[in-house]
């Protein structure tokens, strides 16, 4: 029998990869930040579904910390103006 959680996780991972691929064309920095933000949010959903599928809360804890770090890095980079024009 196909597990609903696993199918959801697979779909979210595929969509997250699509969002990551959107980072490459850009063209501006803000486009890249939006794409990275979308990818992180979808990866958070995938990690949540995977932790339910595996029945492991430790994995959810680790993913929460990683997601918070990714968001923190993205926000810090977005706040810094940098030399590149938007």
């Amino acid at each position: 029998m196909i597990n609903t959680w696993l199918v959801t996780v697979f779909c979210l991972i595929v969509l997250s990869v699509c969002a990551v691929l959107r980072v490459i064309p850009g063209p501006s920095r803000d486009d890249r930040f939006v794409a990275v933000n979308t990818a992180i949010t979808l990866a958070a959903g995938a990690a949540l579904g995977l932790s339910i599928y595996w029945g492991n809360l430790v994995m959810l804890d680790i993913s929460i910390v990683l997601i918070a770090l990714c968001y923190g890095g993205t926000i810090a980079m977005a706040r810094s103006e940098g030399g590149e024009k938007t």
């Binding site: 779909c11 699509c18 933000n37 809360l57």
Partner: protein, 118 residues
């Protein structure tokens, strides 16, 4: 009957989650300007993760009421923390990028457009 109802609810919520995530990514790939891309991608993906979290809460509550272990209240607490992080980060990033777009679009007004506005 109750199990079937809970399973149907969870399935519907998970399908909605994948659907909204797909809308967000399609918006990110298809829309022409950054405002529409940002609007669609951010909101649709936040709705997607919210529906997924509701599905997990339904699952945890069903396990609690059927005499599950102590890990399910902890699971609910963890996913509420995750929800707070996701929403706070999305709102913050959305505002930062929106302010920058406003600033750059204000700076890009040509002198001719400025005269027309005045």
């Amino acid at each position: 009957m109750t199990d079937l109802l809970i399973d149907a609810t969870m399935f519907t919520l998970l399908a909605l989650s994948v659907g909204f995530a797909g809308i967000g990514v399609i918006g990110l790939l298809v829309f022409p300007d950054i405002r529409s891309r940002m609007y669609t991608a951010t909101r649709a993906t936040v709705i997607s993760i919210c529906t997924m979290i509701v599905a997990v809460i339904v699952y945890a509550l069903s396990m609690i009421f059927s005499g599950g272990g102590d890990q399910y209240p902890s699971l609910i607490f963890h996913i509420l923390v995750l929800l707070c992080i996701v929403i706070a980060a999305n709102v913050l990033l959305y505002r930062i990028i929106q302010e920058r777009i406003k600033r750059t679009s204000f700076c890009r007004v040509s002198p001719q457009q400025k005269e027309e506005r005045e």
